[in-house]
Symmetry: C2
Subunit: 319 residues, 2 copies
């Protein structure tokens, strides 16, 4: 009835419990023949090592705790590439969700109760000082959020490069009157705004920054402030771009025929056929790779940025 233990496998294979442990940990100390015999005995009994006991017995848990927000679509992508990345370095992952009723602090605490060796926080909202305190007890890396906290690793997308990518794409399509819908005080807005401005200036063009924000309604509102001679717009993010798209549609201005438009983040909504938005995507794979390396190779604490990539869809066309 109860699940077989290492003891049972040992008895069944006619060896000591320690040998079974050696075999299942795949460390030297057993002959190939015995190894096969033990594994066969284990398989026959349907044995699977008890993860709890394993964690407890080991001095190093090789457990990485991950907090994520169930509402953030992008976090799914990150978790997806986190698993193989951690596994390849022999680490295990344990997830802890942040929800409306379960604050980040609680999610983190539960990970610590499992004695995780290291922490990966996806887009955390904790204060820099509490993050710094966390990092004192175990390596901690913040992904996809710009924070400055001593001892905390940060891995994020290079928003500067992302914004430049969007502008240069429009430039290469022959656009010269390109406006930018600003993100206000949203994270990343400052970097994107500055990059837009610099890229325009470098091309000898006049930047035009229109107030906006991260939500659809801000995009809708910004539509009225786009000059008639503007032929292209880089929006702060996909939400903003989609709001703008909607407003343009209402007023009979066609995208991309009359106005080319880029978003940012490559959210699922941007990929929908009726939006079909050219946008800037974060490289989840690279972000997680750097995050795991930062934790396991104990590199000096730094902020690392990952280059975004441009996803060209149907909302931009040649002038």
């Amino acid at each position: 009835m109860t699940r077989p233990t290492m003891e049972d496998v040992a008895a069944h294979a006619g060896v000591s419990r320690a040998l079974v442990s050696i075999v299942y940990r795949d460390v030297p100390g057993a002959s190939d023949a015995t190894r096969a015999r033990v594994l066969a005995a284990g398989a026959e009994l349907g044995y699977r090592p008890d993860h709890r006991a394993r964690l407890l017995g080991r001095q190093r848990t090789r457990l990485i705790g991950v907090t994520f927000d169930v509402r953030g679509a992008f976090h799914g992508d990150l978790i997806e590439s986190l698993y193989p990345e951690a596994e390849s370095l022999g680490y295990d992952l344990t997830l802890s969700a942040v929800t409306a009723a379960r604050p980040e602090s609680q999610a983190i605490q539960s990970l610590l109760d499992y004695r995780c060796e290291a922490l990966i926080l996806l887009g955390p909202t904790s204060t820099p000082s509490s993050l710094a305190a966390l990092a004192e007890s175990q390596p901690t890396v913040v992904v996809a959020r710009k924070v400055r906290a001593p001892g905390v690793h940060v891995v994020r997308t290079d928003d500067d490069a992302g914004a430049r990518l969007a502008v240069e794409h429009l430039l290469s399509l022959g656009h010269t009157h390109i406006a930018h819908i600003d993100g206000g005080r949203a994270p990343g807005a400052a970097e994107r705004r500055t990059a837009y401005r610099n890229t325009m200036r470098r091309a000898g063009l006049t930047p035009l920054i229109i107030p906006g924000g991260p939500t659809e309604s801000t995009g809708t509102a910004a539509a009225h402030h786009i000059p008639a001679d503007t032929t292209a717009v880089t929006a702060f993010n996909d939400g903003c771009a989609i709001g703008l798209l909607h407003a343009l549609h209402q007023s009979g201005r066609q995208v991309p025929e009359n106005l080319s438009l880029t978003g940012y983040d490559n959210t699922p909504a941007a990929a929908l056929p009726h939006a079909n938005l050219t946008t800037v995507a974060q490289d989840a794979h690279q972000l997680t790779k750097l995050a795991i390396i930062a934790l396991t190779q104990d590199v000096p604490t730094t902020e690392q940025t990952v280059s975004p990539v441009l996803i060209t869809r149907g909302s931009t066309m040649r002038r």
Copy 2:
């Protein structure tokens, strides 16, 4: 350097380790005064019980394993309400993600390695027979998917009622020519189709079922087959509805002025202002509540359905 253990707290409070355990488990056997003193000592040392050891020492782990798909938006909602539900019954939750590279079988296996007492599978894709095998070793509940497997609890939304809700909403708005875009062989399609047909017949109206599917493109394709005298449409799901919405927009047919439209699932896309779709939502809270009860109260194995609710937005109007 190393985290304090129960031993440390005991020494600091001048009691035995067993007493500390009693206090932290909050079971009878300690005086109020001692309780306070132990708790104070623990707080002073920054003590937190080691969850691994706790799980190992206990005969009942009180651990519920949950598999979810990182791609499914609705799973986030379920997880969100799962946490408080489990906690209120004294259970802990551990999550295991299903991704493109991490099959469901692996996600489940890792939960079993933690010796979870029970399993909640969100929209699993495993075969009924493998689910039945799972259920033999521990209580197992499948959420949001219709499967018939012996020993497996199923908690899902009543699609029959959902479809009826949509049709009756349109009827109450005075519509009589209501078409249904079918979901083909997608899960839930058969129930929704039948419910649509029955509700129409009961109202003395003629049902009209147009072939479709679960994706946007199927909705777009279905647009051509909607008769001119049709004033309302219930689409299989939100994706289908949005594809249809897009096609109607192109052809100059206004929603809801010329055609009322309902979706199904209440996906985030349905809530976006330019879709603004009246749709049928699943009751995540109720689903998880039933799931947890099924596991912890060991009710007889059954399929339980939860009533959906209609989310009225701007895509439907009075005839």
